[in-house]
């Protein structure tokens, strides 16, 4: 579960005041809003990369407002993917499990399983340089999912992809998030993405969040 409770973010002249939002466990939430509306700041706030001026952030029932990013159990895919330039795809997928001290065979199994479902098996030894846009985003997604986080935060993950690749990614996101059972908050300005992925949709407008549609399915 992702809960934002009356969160205020200030950054220079920009302010987001008293934002609240709730995505229940296992749901796929989509947050829509225009460029510059504060979507990314809001995700950073949930990820612990930005401290809110006031308000609480709760993940899975736990108040994580004061937690450092690494203790929150979130998988974060930033807009540009931000792959580690000097690491192979394998090292990307093994990074978080390794930090958590998983035994090597378990890490290896997890990496291969993820690579299989993300169609990255043939690229495991490659470095980010030379990967296509779609491949890079799949690596970023795999890296975020690798340690089975309770929450997945996606910042415009499909923005830089061409249309066929985007369709593929949408299917993949749908399938993987359902299989991994993670609670997702996906930020986008695309209505198509929202319609195809969302269990619950929020709109961020003029510094306020409104929940405007709940899918019945």
């Amino acid at each position: 579960m992702i809960v934002l409770d009356n969160v205020t973010i200030r950054q220079g002249t920009f302010a987001l005041v008293g934002a609240s939002l709730r995505v229940t466990t296992g749901q796929y939430g989509v947050l829509m809003g225009r460029t510059g509306s504060g979507k990314t700041s809001l995700l950073e706030c949930i990820a612990g990369l930005r401290r809110p001026a006031s308000g609480r952030v709760r993940l899975g029932g736990e108040d994580v407002t004061q937690f450092p990013p690494g203790a929150r159990g979130i998988g974060y895919v930033p807009q540009e993917g931000a792959l580690f330039r000097e690491m192979t795809v394998y090292e990307h997928l093994a990074f978080a499990p390794h930090l958590r001290g998983w035994p090597a065979p378990v890490i290896d199994e997890r990496v291969r399983e993820l690579a299989e479902s993300l169609r990255l098996t043939h690229l495991l030894r490659s470095k980010p340089h030379g990967l296509s846009g779609g491949e890079s985003q799949r690596v970023a997604l795999g890296r975020a999912l690798s340690f089975r986080p309770r929450v997945l935060l996606l910042d415009e993950p499909l923005a830089s992809l061409d249309e066929p690749t985007r369709d593929e990614m949408i299917d993949l996101l749908k399938r993987l998030s359902a299989r991994e059972g993670s609670t997702v908050l996906h930020v986008t300005h695309s209505r198509t993405e929202a319609e195809r992925l969302a269990d619950v949709t929020f709109r961020l407008e003029d510094g306020a969040i409104s929940e405007f549609k709940r899918e019945s399915s």
Binding site: E44, G48, G70, R72, Y76, P78, F84, F95, R143
Partner: protein, 271 residues
């Protein structure tokens, strides 16, 4: 308006030609200087210079002091460059201004300032343990005082060019700030570190002003290669001065070529 334009801009070649001529003068000057060095010396002069013990000592001291200086400069420049590129702290503007001092102040003044510093009671206290002024440590300290500013600049630009996102993602994956730096940012800054190291080394090799004042020009003691050139010139042994100059040119050129190759490879990888 006519249906098809009749306007024809002039050709591009006069522009390129004039710019190439204006810029080319400098390139030609550098090449001419190097050729003059080469033509003024013979292999015999070089071998003879290399066989003299004081020049051998000076080569050895130059190599060792530049290497130690480079290590010390990086030790400072990596953290300082990172802090300047990534953090906002009080009086940051002042720190930045202070770091520009060694870049704009004449090297002689740096040497004089170091000399004065080690005459203070603090300096004399240090010197009771380790003799600095007019001894080998002063050579390293003089090189460090000037070249570190360049290393800091290089590292700062390097870190500014690396997106902080990677580090942030590493933190969400479970790293502390330090862990993210060591595992993600520093490996990506590898080429910048190498560039900073080579530039620092080459710069330290040519450093003379502060060494002249702070270390003196004692043969077999505080004599580095620029000192040798100065001493040989002052006693009129021009051919030895030229031979040593040429040696420094070759070493510096080698360093620059290595930097350029590393830099180019870095640019390709970044695409």
């Amino acid at each position: 308006m006519p249906p098809t334009s009749t306007h024809r801009p002039g050709p591009d070649w006069p522009f390129y030609l004039s710019f190439a001529l204006l810029g080319g003068v400098y390139v030609v000057l550098i090449v001419a200087m190097l050729l003059a060095d080469v033509m003024a010396t013979t292999p015999d002069h070089l071998l003879h210079a290399l066989s003299r013990p004081e020049i051998r000592y000076s080569i050895r001291l130059s190599l060792i002091s530049c290497t130690i200086t480079t290590i010390l400069a990086l030790w400072t420049a990596v953290p300082l460059g990172y802090l300047l590129a990534r953090t906002r702290f009080p009086l940051r503007w002042l720190v930045e201004a202070i770091l520009d001092v060694p870049l704009v102040v004449p090297p002689l003044v740096v040497g004089l300032s170091l000399l004065l510093l080690f005459q203070t009671s603090f300096g004399q206290f240090v010197q009771r343990g380790v003799p600095v002024t007019f001894a080998v440590p002063s050579v390293i300290l003089a090189q460090y005082a000037v070249t570190t500013a360049f290393a800091v600049r290089t590292m700062r630009v390097t870190f500014e060019q690396i997106s902080p996102r990677g580090e942030q993602v590493a933190m969400t994956l479970g790293c502390s700030r330090g862990g993210a730096f060591w595992r993600v940012t520093l490996p990506e800054a590898r080429r910048g570190v190498l560039t900073a190291a080579t530039l620092t080394w080459a710069r330290a090799l040519g450093e003379f002003g502060p060494i002249l004042i702070f270390s003196g020009t004692t043969r077999m003691k505080t004599e580095v290669l620029p000192t040798t050139v100065y001493l040989e010139l002052s006693v009129g042994r021009i051919e030895a001065a030229i031979a040593v100059s040429l040696l420094m040119v070759v070493v510096a050129a080698a360093i620059l070529i290595v930097t350029r190759l590393v830099g180019l490879r870095g640019a390709e990888d970044a695409r």
